[in-house]
């Protein structure tokens, strides 16, 4: 039996099969053990060079990728748009080709434009991992979210997951919907009408505008941050009103007749979409998600790097 990803790049969850996701999870199991050992490093990718290209701000994802790469012993170069020639007018292909000329095997990229990775993949010769493209996809986040659900609840199949908040501007939501559905979970989105895309139901998800009802339905609640930086217009009257309607508090959780799992992709705005006592409770697996992020990214990098031809 050959266990190999069906894709050469991780552009989005949309391109992955359910088997691909399972292969990534099984590989991540091995890496999770490694990152919990006294010596957290393996020499596997010692002849692979990876460039982290961040055309948009990131702390967690970038750190997580960099740690994953270093724990696999890859050589890592970092690049951020604010300190680069992009501000001098260079095109994306030129920027990336310049970096590849320095013999880079793999590119981890975050870019504000949706589809930037798909475009790039057609023009350059390196493995590409999408670390977030605008409001489109954030595949490694969705993988680590599902992996964390699998870890906590045993499996993803058949579970009911509600994604709460700013669905309209969230690449985490889109990638999560694809990932959860491919694994056989049921997905609901919940938030104010203005932040739910009009045609989201065509993706086969339920839509609910009442947080309490959504929570009563679900096994897992994934709370998203309100992305004020992507909102050019006002989508709701005030943060205070949003919190009153859609903020997850201990009172609402305690009023449910079951214990649900609470997730958050970070960064958390305490007291806005999630209250402090919920974020710090045992029901929240937010920090597990962060830990799993490194293992998942190691798995993705490992599996894609094994497709780099080193025979010549």
């Amino acid at each position: 039996m050959i266990k190999d990803l069906s894709v050469d790049h991780l552009l989005g969850i949309k391109q992955l099969s359910a088997e691909d996701i399972e292969i990534i999870f099984e590989t991540a199991d091995s890496f999770k053990k490694i990152i919990n050992r006294p010596i957290k490093k393996v020499p596997t990718l010692r002849d692979v060079t990876i460039a982290n290209l961040f055309f948009e701000n990131s702390t967690r994802t970038r750190l997580s990728f960099e740690l994953a790469e270093k724990r696999l012993s890859a050589d890592v170069v970092n690049f951020s748009a604010s300190s680069s020639s992009v501000s001098k007018g260079e095109t994306l292909i030129d920027t990336v080709n310049n970096i590849l000329s320095m013999k880079v095997d793999m590119v981890v990229m975050r870019h504000p434009n949706p589809g930037a990775h798909i475009f790039l993949q057609k023009h350059i010769d390196a493995k590409i991992i999408n670390a977030g493209d605008g409001t489109h996809e954030h595949p490694t986040q969705a993988l680590l979210d599902s992996y964390s659900i699998r870890e906590r609840l045993g499996e993803v199949k058949g579970k009911k997951v509600v994604i709460v908040g700013d669905i309209k501007h969230s690449r985490v939501a889109i990638s999560n919907i694809y990932a959860l559905q491919k694994q056989g979970a049921e997905v609901m989105v919940c938030g104010p009408t203005t932040l739910i895309p009009k045609y989201i139901a065509s993706m086969g998800v339920k839509v609910e505008h009442n947080l309490k009802k959504a929570l009563e339905w679900c096994d897992v609640a994934n709370m998203l941050r309100i992305q004020l930086e992507r909102q050019e217009i006002k989508y709701f009257p005030s943060i205070r009103e949003y919190t009153l309607q859609y903020g997850l508090t201990k009172e609402i959780l305690d009023s449910l007749d079951k214990e649900i799992v609470v997730m958050h992709p970070g960064p958390i705005n305490r007291g806005v979409e999630i209250s402090s006592d919920v974020a710090d409770s045992d029901q929240a697996i937010i920090l597990d998600q962060v830990e799993n992020g490194v293992a998942i990214r190691m798995a993705v990098i490992y599996l894609l790097a094994s497709k780099i031809d080193k025979k010549s």
Partner: protein, 182 residues
């Protein structure tokens, strides 16, 4: 490829018993020793030794399994991705006498990776190497075993397979030889 049985199941058991006695000679009561089988095929020998030593001495010897996938030197050079197995070391190897165990020693590249993998769990007092089959004169790396079940002189085109009751249903060692004009 023509298969020839070079170790039958009776000889197989005798060899395991002899290897166990050799270990007892060097490790006494095994109070500071551990047997670690290399995944995927060395673990069967490790488990057999553990059972045999229990039978002979009554001692439960610490036994673990070590996966070497991420330490291999052929990453990205084969046609198929390397799929990891499970590492199962629920004890510390710090200051222990470790007996590294595998089924066939051939180029010794696996053992080289195994040593690296082992060291990332700590600093053992000493490491010995046991192999069930030693294919002599075929090393790529200067590593030699301390304990050998059977030595086999074979050429590169031949193949040696150790079959286990646990997986193939019968304990035996088979030499596959190439037939001219086949």
């Amino acid at each position: 490829m023509k298969p020839t049985v070079i170790v039958n199941s009776q000889q197989f058991q005798l060899t395991i018993t002899r290897l166990s006695h050799q270990l007892i000679e060097n490790h006494n009561d095994f109070s500071n020793s551990a047997i670690i089988g290399l995944q995927p095929r060395g673990i069967y020998l490790a488990n057999r030794l553990q059972d045999e030593l229990k039978k002979i001495t009554g001692i439960d010897v610490l036994t673990g399994a070590l996966d070497i996938t991420f330490y291999r030197d052929d990453f990205g050079r084969g046609d198929q991705p390397l799929i990891p197995s499970v590492t199962n070391l629920d004890f510390s190897i710090e200051n222990k006498k470790v007996i590294l165990v595998d089924d066939v020693l051939y180029t010794a590249r696996t053992v080289r990776a195994g040593l690296d993998a082992l060291m990332s769990f700590g600093r053992p007092l000493e490491v010995e190497l046991m192999t069930f089959i030693d294919r002599r004169f075929s090393r790529h790396i200067p590593i030699q075993p301390n304990y050998v079940g059977q030595s086999v002189d074979s050429i590169e085109t031949e193949k040696v397979a150790v079959n286990w009751k646990e997986t193939e249903g019968v304990d035996e060692v088979i030499l596959y030889t190439t037939i001219e004009n086949d």
